[in-house]
C-alpha cells in the first residue's frame, strides 16, 4: 500500500483538516505538559470508575461529536444552498452524509443519553455507584475507541460512503472497494459492545440498588425510562453486533451473506439493520421522554400527571418497537400482507406516544410554570415533536409511503423527531443537572438566547424540507439544477442550519461563561427539585450519599421538604465501601482501537497480535483481586462539613 492510498489526498479541505488535527493534538500535548496535568488526567479521569466522571466524559465526547456532525451538516447545507454548487463533489458529499448520520445517532445522541443516565440514575435511586463500576469504565472506553476509529476515517483511508444504513449491495466489497465501510463495520462493533454492557449494567443497577423503600412504582420517571431503554438495548444491540460481524466477514474474508449471488441475500442486511435500527430510535427517544417528565413536573410544580399510564405506555412502546422495523423498506416489495402488518403496528405506536404527550399537557395544566431554560426546551419539544409524530403516521401508511419514500419529506420527519425529541432533551437535561455535577448553574440569559436561536432556526432549517420532499427532491442528491425550482426553499433551510450553529456556539460559550462568573450553588437543590439527586450536595461527593436515604413515596424528597422532615433520619454515618480506580479499561480501549484499525486495513499480523493482547488483558482481569477501599467515618464527616460550608 502506498502512502497516498493510506492518507486521503487531493482536497484542500482535507489538508486543512489534517493541519487542524496535528495542531490540536500538539496543543493538547503541550498544554498538558506545560500545566503538569498528565498525572491529574490519569488519576482523576482516565482511570476513574466513578459514574459521575464517566458520565461527564460521555457528555464531553458527545459535545465534541455534535461539533463534528454539525460541521458535516453545515457542509451539506452549504452545498445544497443553491443549484449547481461545487463546494463538494459527489463522492465527498456521500461520505459526509454517511458520517453525519452515523456520528449524530451513535456517537452524539447515544453517548449524550448514556452520559446523563450515568450521572443521574445512581443519584436518583439513592445508590453510591452503578452495579458494575469497572464494567462501566470499560463501556466508556470501548465507545470512545469506536468513536475515534470512526472519526479518523476521513483523513486516513477514506470515510464510508454508503449511507448511515450502509445498504448492501452498495456497501459490499464489490461496489465500495475502499476501506470506508470497514471502518463502519469495525467502529460500530467496538462501540456497540460498550453500549450493550451499559444496558446490562443499568438494568442490574436499577433493579438491585434502589434505596430502601423505593419500589419500582415509586421510581422517578427518568429512571423508569432508563430501565426500559436498557432492556431495549439488551435485546436490540446483539442483532446489530451480528449484522456488523456478517458485514465484516463479507468485506474482509470473502463470505457471501449479503451478496446477490451464491445464495447470499442483499436485502437481509436491510432487514437485520432495521431489526436493530427501529428499537434504536426508541433507545434515543425514551430517555428524552424521561428527561422531559422530570423537567415538566419540576417547573410546573406539580406531580407528574398519570404516572402509571406513563410507565405502561413506555412498556408498550418497548414491545411495539420490535414489531415495526420493516416500515423502513415498504418499497422493497415484500407484499401486501407484510406491508399491511407493519403499517398497522407502526400506527399503533402513536397511541402510547399520544398518551404521554397528553400526560405532559395535563401536568402543565394549572401548574405554576417557571420558564427556565430547561423548561423552554421542554415546551418547544411538545409542538415540534407532534409535527414529527404526525408526519411519521403519514409515512407509516405503506401505500402513501411509495410517494414519500427516500425524499426530503422523510429527512424532515426524522429530524423533527430526533432534534426536538432527543437533542432538545439532552440539552435541557444538561442545563437541568449541570449544577448537580459542577456546583453552579449555567447562565440563564445566555441559555435563553441559545434556546431561541436553536428553537427558531430548527423550524427554519427543517420545515422547508417537508415541502421540498413533496415537490420531489430526493434525499442524498448532492446537487440539483435551477429548473427543478428547489433553490429558494433550500436556501431557507441553509439559513436555518447556520442559525442552529450560532445557537450551539452560544451554548458552548455559556459553559465557559458560567464556569467563570456563575454564582456557586450552596443548597444542592437550586431548582427546588423533586427526586433524590437533589437531596445530596452539589458537587456530589465521591460516595454520593453519606447516609442512604429512606423513601416511602414517589417524589419523597419534595414531600420531605414540604413536611420539613429529613430522608436521612435515624441513621448514622458508617464506613463506605467504594471501588478502586483502574487503568485496565483505558488500556483495553486503546488495544481495541488498534485491533479495529489493523483489521480495517487487513494488516493481519498486527491485528492478530492486538487480538491476542485483548485476550490476555481479559484473562489477567479474571485473576486480578481488587476488593476496593473503605472511606472512614471521620473522613466522611469532614467532607460533609466542608460541603455544608461550616468549619466546626
Amino acid at each position: 500500500m502506498k502512502w497516498d492510498e493510506f492518507f486521503v489526498t487531493g482536497e484542500p479541505m482535507i489538508y486543512a483538516a489534517d493541519i487542524c488535527i496535528v495542531l490540536a493534538s500538539l496543543a493538547i500535548i503541550i498544554g498538558l505538559t506545560y500545566f503538569k496535568k498528565w498525572g491529574y488526567l490519569w488519576r482523576e479521569w482516565l482511570t476513574t470508575v466513578d459514574h459521575k466522571k464517566i458520565g461527564v466524559m460521555y457528555i464531553i465526547s458527545a459535545l465534541l461529536m455534535l461539533f463534528r456532525g454539525g460541521v458535516d451538516a453545515l457542509l451539506m447545507r452549504t452545498q445544497l444552498a443553491m443549484p449547481n454548487m461545487t463546494l463538494l463533489n459527489a463522492q465527498h458529499y456521500n461520505e459526509i452524509f454517511t458520517t453525519h448520520g452515523v456520528i449524530m445517532i451513535l456517537f452524539m445522541a447515544m453517548p449524550f443519553i448514556i452520559g446523563l443516565m450515568n450521572v443521574v440514575v445512581p443519584l436518583q435511586i439513592g445508590a453510591r455507584d452503578v452495579a458494575f463500576p469497572r464494567l462501566n469504565a470499560v463501556s466508556f472506553w470501548l465507545f470512545f475507541a469506536g468513536a475515534m476509529l470512526f472519526n479518523i476515517s476521513f483523513v486516513i483511508g477514506g470515510s464510508p460512503d454508503a449511507g448511515w444504513s450502509a445498504y448492501f449491495p452498495l456497501a459490499s466489497k464489490e461496489f465500495s472497494p475502499s476501506v470506508g465501510n470497514n471502518y463502519y463495520s469495525l467502529a460500530l462493533q467496538i462501540s456497540g459492545i460498550g453500549t450493550l454492557m451499559t444496558g446490562v449494567n443499568f438494568v442490574v443497577t436499577i433493579l438491585k440498588m434502589r434505596a430502601p423503600g423505593m419500589t419500582l412504582m415509586k421510581m422517578p420517571m427518568f429512571t423508569w425510562s432508563i430501565l426500559i431503554t436498557s432492556v431495549i438495548i439488551m435485546f436490540a444491540f446483539p442483532v446489530l453486533t451480528i449484522a456488523l460481524l456478517l458485514m465484516m466477514f463479507d468485506r474482509l474474508f470473502g463470505t457471501q451473506f449479503f451478496t446477490m449471488t451464491n445464495g447470499g441475500m442483499d436485502m437481509l442486511w436491510a432487514n437485520l439493520f432495521w431489526v436493530w435500527g427501529h428499537p434504536e430510535v426508541y433507545i434515543v427517544i425514551l430517555p428524552a421522554f424521561g428527561i422531559y417528565s422530570e423537567i415538566i413536573s419540576t417547573f410546573a410544580k406539580k406531580n407528574l400527571y398519570g404516572y402509571k399510564s406513563m410507565v405502561v405506555s413506555m412498556v408498550a412502546i418497548s414491545l411495539l418497537s420490535f414489531l415495526v422495523w420493516a416500515h423502513h423498506f415498504y418499497t422493497m416489495g415484500m407484499g401486501v400482507v407484510g406491508n399491511g402488518f407493519f403499517s398497522i403496528a407502526t400506527m399503533a405506536i402513536s397511541v402510547p406516544t399520544g398518551v404521554k404527550l397528553f400526560n405532559w399537557l395535563f401536568t402543565l395544566y394549572k401548574g405554576r410554570i417557571e420558564f427556565t431554560t430547561p423548561m423552554l426546551y421542554a415546551l418547544a419539544f411538545i409542538p415540534s415533536f407532534t409535527i414529527g409524530g404526525v408526519t411519521g403516521v403519514m409515512l407509516a401508511i405503506a401505500s402513501a409511503d411509495y410517494q414519500y419514500h427516500n425524499t426530503m419529506f422523510l429527512v424532515a420527519h426524522f429530524h423533527y423527531v430526533l432534534i426536538p425529541g432527543t437533542v432538545f432533551a439532552v440539552i435541557a437535561g444538561m442545563h437541568f443537572w449541570f449544577p448537580k455535577i459542577f456546583g453552579f448553574r449555567l447562565n440563564e440569559r445566555i441559555g435563553k438566547i441559545a434556546f431561541w436561536f436553536i428553537a427558531i432556526s430548527f423550524q427554519v432549517a427543517f420545515m422547508p424540507l417537508f415541502f421540498l420532499g413533496l415537490n420531489g427532491m430526493t434525499r442524498r442528491m448532492y446537487t440539483y439544477s435551477p429548473e427543478t425550482g428547489f433553490g429558494p426553499l433550500n436556501m431557507i433551510a441553509t439559513i436555518g442550519a447556520f442559525g442552529l450553529a450560532i445557537g450551539f456556539i452560544f451554548l458552548v460559550y455559556n459553559i465557559y461563561y458560567s464556569f467563570r462568573y456563575s454564582p456557586r450553588d450552596t443548597t444542592g437543590d437550586p431548582w427546588d427539585g423533586r427526586s433524590l439527586e437533589w437531596a445530596t450536595h452539589s458537587p456530589v461527593p465521591e460516595y454520593n450519599f453519606a447516609i442512604i436515604p429512606t423513601v416511602d413515596k414517589l417524589d419523597a424528597f419534595w414531600f420531605a421538604k414540604q413536611d420539613k422532615k429529613s430522608l436521612f433520619e435515624g441513621k448514622k454515618i458508617e464506613e463506605i465501601h467504594m471501588p478502586n480506580n483502574t487503568g485496565g479499561p483505558f488500556v483495553l480501549g486503546v488495544v481495541f482501537f488498534f485491533l479495529g484499525f489493523f483489521l480495517v486495513f487487513s494488516w493481519w499480523i498486527p491485528a492478530i497480535i492486538s487480538g491476542v493482547v485483548v485476550l490476555i488483558l481479559l484473562a489477567m482481569r479474571s485473576f486480578e483481586r481488587d476488593h476496593g477501599h473503605h472511606i472512614h467515618v471521620e473522613e466522611i464527616v469532614e467532607t460533609e462539613q466542608k460541603l455544608r460550608g461550616d468549619n466546626a
Binding site: 441475500m265 431489526v275 414489531l323 401486501v336 407484510g338
Partner: protein, 94 residues
Amino acid sequence: MKQLFPVKHVMGYIFSLILSLVALAVVFFDMSFAAGMTILLVAAAIQASLQLFLFMHIDETSSKKTLYLNIVYALFVGLVTIFGSLLAMIWGIV
C-alpha cells in the same frame, strides 16, 4: 486453591467450543439437509442451555417472576424477529 479454580466454567467453556466445532462440521462434511439440520438444532439447544445454566446462572435466581417475565420477553423478541423476517423476506414476496 482447589475450590478457587472454576472447574465448571472452564469445562463449560471447552464444551461450548466443541459444540461450535460440531456446528461448523456440518459445512465441511457432506451430509443430507435433514441430517445437517438435526445436528445444528441439537447443538444449538445444548449450547443455549449451557450458556443459560453455566454462565448466566439461571437456576440460582430467587425471584421466579422476573425470570419468567424475562424469558417471555426474550421469546417474544426472538420469535417476532424470526417470523417477521420470514414474512418480510420470503413469505410476503409475490
